[in-house]
């Protein structure tokens, strides 16, 4: 199963490396988002206090929505999703492969977003690189776990482009809260270890529950 998931991930990455369609559009969109926030919130060269954490996660959530929609739109256009589901592979492996693809894509976006926001909003996002990476990784995994399942479910639905954010954002509220609070705690002048650890633990619990639930439901919602 792990090998199958790896094969699907490699296929997605190969397509992406050759075309670059989703990576470039997602990245450009995320950067544009950050710029809009910079124009809206930075007054006389002074960024708002604690604004950077919120802006980072909003940019990730928006860009994630875009990437999820495009990743499955591509599979739908060429009917390759049907081929994937027809293949003699366990469904959870297909889900895992797609999930990892989205996580890699979002990680690449975050690698650009974090330094950019640190620069534009004078935030100390890189003061604790290990914790920053841990919060980002666990938050991205939780967001992508729910998003991959919903985007896959919606492939055959009418008006899927509008429905994805409508379903995704209410469900991922805890990820956004925990991500923003955890990141904000990292930005404080003195390191608030307890608070960061609490939000990280919440994110890990969320990841565990929602990845398990997705693996279980993917089979039954993708049957036809």
């Amino acid at each position: 199963m792990i090998r199958l998931a790896w094969l699907i991930l490699r296929k997605d990455l190969t397509v992406e490396v050759r075309s670059g369609e989703i990576a470039y559009t997602t990245l450009f969109f995320a950067v544009t988002c950050v710029l809009v926030f910079a124009f809206a919130l930075v007054r006389e060269g002074k960024p708002p206090d604690d604004g950077a954490a919120g802006i980072l996660w909003i940019a990730i959530a928006f860009a994630g929505n875009l990437a999820l929609g495009r990743a499955f739109e591509r599979e739908r256009q060429a009917e390759t999703l049907r081929a994937l589901l027809l293949a003699p592979a366990p469904r959870p492996a297909v889900y895992l492969g797609k999930l990892l693809g989205i996580v890699v894509l979002l990680a690449a976006t975050e690698a650009v977003l974090v330094p950019l926001i640190a620069l534009l909003f004078q935030a100390r996002l890189l003061a604790h690189p290990f914790w920053m990476a841990a919060i980002l990784a666990s938050g991205t995994l939780g967001f992508a776990a729910v998003g991959t399942l919903f985007a896959a479910m919606l492939v055959r639905a009418r008006s899927r482009d509008v429905l994805l954010p409508v379903l995704l954002y209410p469900i991922t509220v805890p990820v956004i809260i925990a991500g923003v609070r955890g990141t904000a705690a990292l930005l404080q002048p003195e390191f608030e270890g307890d608070i960061v650890r609490f939000w990280f633990a919440l994110l890990i619990a969320f990841d565990a529950v929602f990845v398990t639930l997705s693996l279980w439901t993917f089979e039954s919602v993708m049957t036809d």
């Binding site: 479910m153 409508v166 469900i171 609070r181 439901t217 919602v221």
Partner: protein, 215 residues
């Protein structure tokens, strides 16, 4: 039908029962909104639970009856959630001095209300096959309750703990339980009506189909 009549009577009499309750010492008259706020909030919670459980059973068995129950319960969640979200801020304006506070229970209720709306939007605009997607959404929404609650509760909560309810004096406890009974009855009546409507729609559809087959 009889249940509906009893329910209507109970609601008609409820202003009298609530008027007979003692005034709360610090909040006075405005506290009486509590007799509608809390029962509707409970029914909102129950609707969400019913929707989640019915959706899981639908995902496991594929039986359309559970799906109809889940749909009806989601509509109830939107209605009772609306009552809760309208009465809450009216009370909060007087009791806390502001219409809205991002406290654990307000935030989690609001998010659950949005999930219920998302469920209905998905049912309406999702096209064929959306019932399975909606069941998945309801399952995730139910699992989410705990996470939202923990995450917001970590900030700070301003709602009184639920242990307040059994300690209420009789003059305030009786109107409260009266209203809880009235709201529960209303929930059951509406849910049954809504499920029956869906059942008859399904029967009608299958009759049309069989007529088409006969030519």
């Amino acid at each position: 039908m009889r249940a509906a009549t009893v329910c209507a009577l109970m609601f008609a009499l409820s202003p009298l029962v609530i008027a007979s309750a003692d005034y709360e010492s610090t909040m006075g008259l405005v506290q009486k909104i509590f007799y509608y706020h809390m029962p509707s909030a409970w029914m909102f919670l129950v609707s969400g639970l019913v929707c989640g459980v019915a959706s899981v059973r639908f995902l496991i068995t594929g039986d359309a009856r559970h799906d109809r129950t889940a749909w009806a319960a989601a509509e109830m969640a939107v209605i009772f959630g609306l009552v809760t979200i309208v009465t809450g801020p009216l009370w909060a304006r007087k009791a806390w001095g502001t219409f809205w506070i991002w406290d654990a229970r307000t935030t989690s209720s609001l998010v659950q209300w949005m999930v219920a709306w998302a469920y209905l939007i998905l049912r309406k605009y999702g096209g064929p096959g959306s019932e399975k997607l909606a069941a998945g959404l309801a399952l995730f929404g139910t699992a989410n309750v705990a996470f939202i609650y923990v995450s917001v509760n970590y900030w700070r909560t301003i709602h009184p703990p639920t242990s307040v309810v059994p300690k209420l004096p009789f003059t305030m406890g009786f109107p409260l339980w009266y209203c809880v009974a009235a709201f529960t009855l209303l929930f059951i009546v509406l849910l049954k009506l809504r499920v029956r409507l869906e059942e008859q729609r399904a029967t009608l559809d299958s009759l049309y189909l069989s007529m088409d087959e006969q030519g």
